[in-house]
């Protein structure tokens, strides 16, 4: 049985088709676009908030999208433990919506960065990294002008101590250096998760790194992780039901 991925489409989303392609054609799962005016998630097992420039990035990135009708359903889904992946603009929307802490500032050099970077998997105890190994280095593209992660010092400290920094920018050898940080993000943070660990946001684009023909297939591990997590949850639920 295939897993249903609902990909939310905001006006200005432009990585929705990339996510759809990765899920449907590379992984062979069920994928469906959900327009932001919808009020249900169409039976999603996993929700993806894709990258792009929702509402033209007017006001602040993600600031207007967070008030879209579909976001009520996304919040309910997230709060009930459903897996939610926010990629790039999707991460920014999750922050604006308060589903993840912090905010994005302009990249410290004011440039839009469109390039492959390396990120290190810091935590494997999330539904999107359970198939990765701790310290694994992934080569994944970024494409953003506002990915400079910021949060108040007490919030960053809480993220660190609770193991909720999931990905950090690093060099090809996995070393965390200032030179390997493309945007100035605090503590080289590239991705974080919610306290329940089911909502993950990251600035890099794993959906654009799922096939060798695209230069890297390192992003696959996020999608394989959630499939694996859901199938083992299903097995547990089924055992519990039978018992």
């Amino acid at each position: 049985m295939s897993t249903k991925f609902s990909i939310i489409v905001f006006p200005g989303s432009n990585c929705d088709h990339d996510a759809y392609h990765a899920v449907k054609h590379v992984l062979g799962q069920d994928a469906e676009f959900v327009w932001h005016k919808e009020t249900t998630l169409k039976g999603a097992d996993v929700v993806i908030l894709p990258g792009g420039f929702s509402h033209g990035d007017y006001l602040r990135t993600g600031a207007i999208a967070r008030f879209s009708p579909v976001m009520t359903a996304v919040s309910d889904f997230a709060r009930s433990g459903g897996p939610v992946l926010g990629i790039c603009n999707g991460f920014q929307i999750l922050c604006e919506a308060g589903l993840l802490p912090g905010a994005m500032l302009r990249n410290r050099d004011l440039k839009f960065h469109c390039e492959h970077v390396h990120i290190r998997v810091e935590q494997t105890a999330t539904v999107f990294t359970c198939r990765a190994s701790k310290g694994q280095v992934l080569r994944i593209p970024i494409a953003h002008g506002e990915g400079n992660y910021y949060a108040q010092p007490d919030v960053v400290s809480e993220l660190e101590t609770s193991g909720r920094v999931i990905f950090r920018y690093c060099d090809p050898d996995g070393q965390i250096t200032d030179a390997a940080n493309p945007n100035g993000a605090l503590n080289s943070i590239a991705g974080i998760c919610s306290p329940q660990r089911n909502v993950v946001g990251l600035m890099p684009h794993p959906e654009r790194a799922c096939e060798a023909a695209l230069g890297s297939a390192d992003g696959l591990v996020l999608f394989e992780s959630v499939l694996s997590a859901l199938s083992s949850q299903g097995a547990v639920a089924s055992v519990a039901h039978n018992g």
Binding site: R60, A63, G102, A103, L105, R108, L110, Q152
Partner: protein
């Protein structure tokens, strides 16, 4: 009634745009210009009966949408 809302990054938050503008001014010879902070300015037309109501409404929309309290603070003027 009209409200003016000024949104700026909190003092503790680095402002790379303001810094770049300050650097440009210094290279133009304006040694007398110190720190520069860039912000946003909004003019709101409000159907409020009193200045107090207008101020409360402007503050509410600033809290909800115009400013992100994680990184920004705001100031309201009623005109």
């Amino acid at each position: 009634m009209k409200a003016r809302v000024f949104v700026t990054l909190k003092p503790s938050v680095f402002d790379p745009q303001g810094q770049t503008i300050a650097d440009a001014l210094h290279s133009m010879g304006y040694a007398g210009v110190g720190d520069v902070r860039q912000g946003k300015y909004f003019e709101l037309e409000l159907a409020s009966a009193s200045a107090d109501q207008a101020r409360a409404l402007a503050a509410e929309v600033a809290d909800k949408l115009l400013a992100n309290p994680v990184i920004e603070s705001y100031r309201v003027e009623i005109v």
